[in-house]
């Protein structure tokens, strides 16, 4: 598998190349994470993962359920202490939550006592946006995420997909330079998923943040990302790391008939189907 990976990485670069020359935005070196089980033994979830995310790079992570994808994101934003290896963000070892790292949880974690606008405002208040621009920022995000008319709705009045969009709004309002996204579009229907993917790409292309995007949807991973990292079942290792050689700007529907796209999704399918 390692051979195949390097072959793919050797392929000539995409049109919009990430700035590989600059130091990695985030890096994992030999990361190991174990959790204590009730019977005092240790459950090894991550067994030696090394990967890095370049400045402005969009990396998707796919892998079986329970393989430790969420756990890796938690380690990257300092919510969880690894039992071995190194985690660095912007060259500094992570001990607590590093500045400029935004985490969109798998569960939306909206505050039920805050309206849609109020929940998005939390991102703005805690981020680097100057206070006098909060309102404009929130209004533009509400428009971007198609939440107009729901500014003053309570979270309990929203559908699962709308809640996820509010949670994305809060992340974008925070303006992180590294976005950790844990199945952000998991609760969306196909059309909204495509639309949100398009919006995410336009935000990303405009502002060039780094993204680690965890998903179960292989096609989504390939359509959005520069690289797709495939995790094995627990304990997680990286079984493949594909570069997606599809030029940008991408047309999210048309690219599905691109031979590179079909080849890549096929390859990832067979990686995940492999017993490991």
């Amino acid at each position: 598998m390692a051979l195949m990976t390097s072959q793919r990485e050797a392929k000539t670069g995409p049109v919009v190349a990430p700035a590989y020359a600059s130091p990695p935005r985030a890096e994992l070196k030999g990361l190991r994470i174990s959790f204590p089980l009730p019977d005092m033994s240790m459950l090894e979830v991550i067994s030696g993962i090394s990967m890095s995310v370049a400045e402005g790079e969009f990396v998707a992570v796919v892998g079986p359920s329970g393989s430790g994808k969420s756990t890796i994101l938690r380690a990257l934003c300092g919510l969880l202490k690894p039992s071995g290896g190194e985690v660095t963000v912007d060259g500094k070892p992570v001990s607590g939550p590093p500045p400029g790292v935004g985490f969109m949880f798998q569960k939306d974690a909206l505050l039920p006592w805050r309206t849609v606008a109020g929940n998005i405002r939390i991102g703005a208040e805690l981020g680097s946006v100057p206070a006098d621009q909060h309102e404009a920022r929130i209004a533009s995000l509400i428009k971007l995420l198609r939440l107009e008319g729901f500014e003053n709705a309570w979270p309990r009045q929203l559908s699962g997909g709308m809640r996820q969009r509010v949670s994305l709004g809060r992340l974008l309002a925070y303006q992180p330079s590294l976005m950790l996204m844990d199945e952000p579009f998991g609760a969306l229907d196909y059309q909204t998923k495509i639309a949100m993917g398009r919006e995410l790409l336009s935000v990303w292309e405009a502002e060039r943040r780094s993204i680690i995007f965890v998903t179960h949807d292989i096609e989504e991973a390939v359509t959005l990302a520069d690289r797709v990292v495939v995790f094995s079942a627990r304990p997680a290792r990286i079984i493949a790391d594909y570069k997606v050689d599809i030029p940008r700007p991408r047309h999210l529907r048309a690219m599905r008939s691109d031979p590179v796209f079909t080849q890549l999704t096929e390859a990832i399918w067979s990686d995940l189907a492999m017993p490991s």
């Binding site: 938690r74 934003c77 300092g78 919510l79 607590g96 939550p97 500045p99 790292v101 935004g102 985490f103 949880f105 569960k107 974690a109 505050l111 039920p112 006592w113 805050r114 939390i122 991102g123 208040e125 805690l126 981020g127 309570w154 979270p155 309990r156 925070y174």
Partner: protein
């Protein structure tokens, strides 16, 4: 102690009971009370001697006399002051204590047997001691109400904090939110429903505390009026006092329900 509910189901209770005060239910509720009073009135003519159980018309007459003579207000305001001061004092000390214990789990574990022991103690039985320590004035009754309600606040607030979604706290942490910001945006909003639920449960308990204190030793208040009427075999007097106490609890309950609906719009 029949009025105590387990603290853990308190906020649920809040939600479910909300509807019973919604405006559409009021006519039916009033009708039910009227029918019950009518049955009582009829029963006192045909089923039993009103010497033992009085009757609504006699109670109404007595309440009118008490109101005109000013005694009704004197007794009611006394009991209200005692229960109200006890309740507020319990909230003022119980809420910070609950927050503190929730934030210091080790201290909470250390104090757990003591707190549960005091909570389980039939505090009504403390009344004679309190009269002895604090005299027959207002203060001993305030202390009775206070001890009746204090633990409701402590335990409810602790439970409210315990049920805060860890993801919400982690999210705040991931965005490097300061301690005060987290308290203001997550902790306080999360416990407000639990505090209001404590008030709702506490009103009844505070009244019990005040009345029990008055029964044991005092010279005024609704509890004293009930006690002295009972001593004179005046059942109408006993029931008059009880009716006023019941109305107080109902009005307080209604007020808290009203405040709940004004404050907790997000439920």
């Amino acid at each position: 102690m029949a009025l105590t509910r387990t603290p853990s189901d308190a906020p649920d209770t809040v939600i479910r009971r909300k509807s019973s005060w919604s405006s559409s239910a009021v006519p039916a509720q009033a009708a039910l009370i009227f029918v019950l009073l009518l049955l009582w009135e009829l029963a006192s003519y045909y089923l039993y001697n009103p010497f033992w159980g009085s009757r609504p018309s006699m109670i109404a007459e007595r309440l009118w006399e008490l109101a005109v003579s000013g005694h009704l207000w004197m007794h009611t305001s006394t009991t209200l002051q005692e229960a109200g001061a006890g309740l507020l004092l319990a909230a003022l000390l119980g809420v910070p204590a609950g927050i503190g214990l929730a934030r210091a789990p080790r201290l909470a574990r250390l104090l757990d047997p003591v707190i549960m022991g005091l909570y389980g103690l039939p505090r009504v039985a403390l009344a004679p001691l309190f009269i002895l320590w604090f005299g027959i004035g207002l203060f001993s009754k305030i202390m009775m109400s206070f001890t009746m309600v204090l633990f409701i606040f402590i335990l409810n607030v602790m439970e409210g904090i315990r049920t805060i979604d860890q993801d919400q706290l982690d999210l705040m942490k991931s965005m490097r939110a300061g301690r005060l910001y987290v308290v203001w945006t997550v902790l306080l909003p999360a416990i407000v429903p639990w505090i209001l639920a404590s008030f709702r449960i506490g009103v009844g308990l505070a009244l019990i505390g005040a009345v029990v204190g008055e029964l044991i030793g005092s010279n005024r208040g609704l509890g004293w009026y009930v006690e002295s009427s009972g001593g004179q075999l005046d059942t109408t007097g006993v029931f008059s006092g009880l009716v006023v106490l019941m109305i107080l609890a109902m009005v307080a309950n209604y007020l808290i329900g009203f405040i709940e609906r004004k404050i907790i719009k997000w439920r």
